[in-house]
């Protein structure tokens, strides 16, 4: 297919979704970075005289069952959400890629490792995450470890499948004939060809991780309950659902918008890197 130079209008129309999603994400990132300047109150400051208040001038979105400012908690909640989803996916991609490379490259490693990963895969994500987090205890670092473990099998399998087909390509054979060591072949000739599926997996994983993390926080495990996070806010507002549904509504909307922006971005990245899936 010959490349045609796109007119600015056509370019804009084609990538409008990605641009909008990117702008939304940029906004969320800014909110997370400048949270102390945007928030009107300390997100952890409780006030028993101001429990479950409706929106007022002092509290733009009202207060929660502990008298904390909902708006400030939403602002700070973006921090934990972004930190967790990005760290988890980055770590899972790095470790998963290494495991996948090993599996695809060494037959004996493959036989053992793949079976273990298949075993992990047979357990439902939420259930596995629940058990792991109970085993390790609450905390942001432990939550990250647990979510990485949950994501590993999928990534390792993805890379393994890629490696198995790339291994048979001529350039790898050529490198072998030239006497390149296994490690050099793996990282220099095989891994770079896995980059685009990995980038696709990374971007599409970001939204999914936010949802899993929110589900866990909703069940009351994972995050430190004091730390502002959206899933936890829904959990705390759950008891008030009959009287004050907005306490649940706002964090849910934040989750949905963030995940939506990440998904659209992920789809966009996929269309660019792997046009045949379009």
């Amino acid at each position: 297919m010959e490349k045609k130079k796109m007119k600015p209008g056509a370019f804009f129309r084609r990538y409008i979704r990605i641009l909008v999603a990117g702008a939304v994400l940029l906004f969320i990132f800014c909110v997370a970075i400048f949270a102390p300047f945007i928030a009107t109150h300390d997100p952890d400051e409780t006030d028993i005289y101001k429990m479950n208040q409706l929106p007022s001038e002092e509290h733009i979105l009202g207060t929660d069952p502990f008298g904390r400012d909902v708006f400030s908690r939403l602002v700070y909640g973006s921090r934990s959400t972004l930190i967790i989803s990005i760290t988890v996916n980055a770590l899972a991609i790095i470790i998963g890629a290494c495991l996948g490379l090993l599996c695809g490259y060494y037959k004996n490693v493959d036989a053992i490792l793949m079976r273990i990963l298949e075993g992990i895969n047979a357990l439902p994500t939420i259930l596995l995450a629940l058990v792991l987090i109970t085993v390790m205890g609450n905390g942001i670092d432990k939550l990250i470890i647990c979510l990485v473990a949950v994501n590993l099998p999928g990534i390792a399998r993805l890379v393994r499948a890629q490696v198995l087909s790339i291994k048979e390509k001529e350039h790898v054979e050529c490198a072998k004939a030239c006497g390149a060591k296994n490690r050099r072949i793996m990282f220099k000739y095989v891994l770079p060809l896995c980059y685009s599926p990995l980038i696709i997996r990374f971007t599409s994983g970001l939204g999914a991780t936010i949802l899993t993390q929110a589900s866990l926080s909703f069940l009351g495990v994972g995050m430190d309950p004091h730390m502002a996070n959206w899933g936890g806010m829904i959990n705390e507002g759950k008891a008030m659902i009959f009287a004050m549904p907005q306490q649940c509504a706002y964090p849910g909307i934040c989750i949905a918008i963030t995940v939506l922006a990440f998904s659209i971005l992920g789809d966009g990245v996929r269309d660019v890197l792997d046009p045949k899936l379009r």
Binding site: R115, I116, E118, G119, I120, A122, L123, P124, T125, I126, L127, L130, V131, L132, T134, V135, G137, G207, L211, A214, S215, F218, L219, G231, I234, K238, I241, F242, P245, C248, A249, P251, G252, I255, A256, I257, V259, L260, S263, I264, D267, L277, R278
Partner: protein, 318 residues
């Protein structure tokens, strides 16, 4: 075909074994003495003699290797232990909780198939039109909304405000008949179907587009068949095989993974049992339910491979 089935069944043995091992060690690396945890919740001081008795009962005094061997032996014998919560055999507890989960899974699958597949087909048929963009956008949005949050919002609007549906709980078939059971499950089913509808729409669409690129479609068109016939007879049939597998996966996932939905709507299903047992530190029950769910998942997978093979005999599994 028989050979394929037998081979596939045998290939499940190592995976099953790994799952059993994983569950065993996961339950054993929980920090602190499980017996003390169970009796005192890790906070209260408990009589050491009592702890010793429970340790004996749980078999925690044996060396870890022996524990492992006994664990596997008991599982193979079908003796999965008794719940620490109500002293019933764990299997009996699971069986008592199966109906809501099973009904929820079926109901939600029916909803997602009835909406997701037609949407996907239409979206592929009218590719790059306004209808297609609308459906794919709605599907992406559906995938982004947390199911449990949608559930809560539905509880508020349809349960509290409009009073159309019961806010929580499940009416057993034995109590109120099938109609009441389905009625009580409508909101949970819709809430948990949301993601499946969206992913099914997207998946069906991309499978259809994939198939439509094939040579035989061009041939069918070239010989002058009407477009509808090409689309529904030649393309759809071939695109549906992977879609069926996808549906199967979501069923397998839901059977064990609807913990969150069941918690939102307070349904006494298996997912909620898994969560409750974990909170109560009822380790034998938790162990059993994880194993049970994993076994369902593994065998559903085998069944799916077999169905796939029947639907599309060209497929070779290694």
């Amino acid at each position: 075909m028989t050979r394929f089935v037998i081979k596939r069944l045998f290939s499940a043995i190592p995976v099953l074994f790994i799952v059993i091992t994983l569950v065993f060690f996961m339950m054993r690396i929980i920090p602190g003495d499980p017996a003390a945890q169970i009796l005192g919740g890790g906070v209260d001081e408990v009589d050491p003699a009592q702890i010793e008795m429970l340790r004996e009962r749980l078999g925690l005094n044996e060396p870890i290797g022996m524990q492992y061997i006994h664990f596997i032996r008991d599982i193979l014998k079908g003796d999965w232990g008794t719940s620490l919560h109500n002293n019933m055999p764990v299997f009996q507890n699971i069986r008592a909780r199966m109906e809501p989960t099973l009904m929820l899974t079926l109901y939600s699958t029916v909803i997602s198939v009835l909406i997701g597949i037609p949407f996907g087909i239409l979206s592929a048929k009218h590719r790059n039109t306004v209808a297609d963009y609308t459906m794919t956008t709605v599907a992406v949005m559906g995938l982004s909304i947390p199911g449990f949050w949608l559930g809560l919002m539905m509880v508020f609007f349809f349960g509290v405000r409009l009073r159309w549906f019961p806010v929580q709980g499940y009416t057993y078939i034995a109590e109120g008949g099938l109609k009441m059971a389905l009625y009580s499950l409508t909101m949970p089913a819709v809430a948990s179907a949301l993601h499946h509808i969206s992913s099914l729409t997207r998946y069906t669409r991309s499978m259809m587009l994939d198939v439509l690129n094939n040579d035989y479609i061009r041939t069918a068109r070239a010989k002058g068949l009407i477009e509808n016939k090409v689309f529904y007879k030649h393309a759809l049939k071939n695109a549906l095989a992977p879609v069926v597998t996808n549906i199967g996966f979501s069923i397998a996932g839901m059977l064990g993974g609807s913990t969150v939905t069941e918690t939102v709507f307070n349904l006494n299903g298996m997912g909620k049992l898994a969560y409750d047992s974990l909170v109560r530190r009822d380790y034998p029950q938790e162990q059993a339910i994880i194993l049970f769910v994993a076994i369902i998942f593994i065998f559903t997978n085998i069944l799916l491979d077999i169905i796939y093979k029947i639907l599309d005999p060209r497929i070779e599994f290694d």
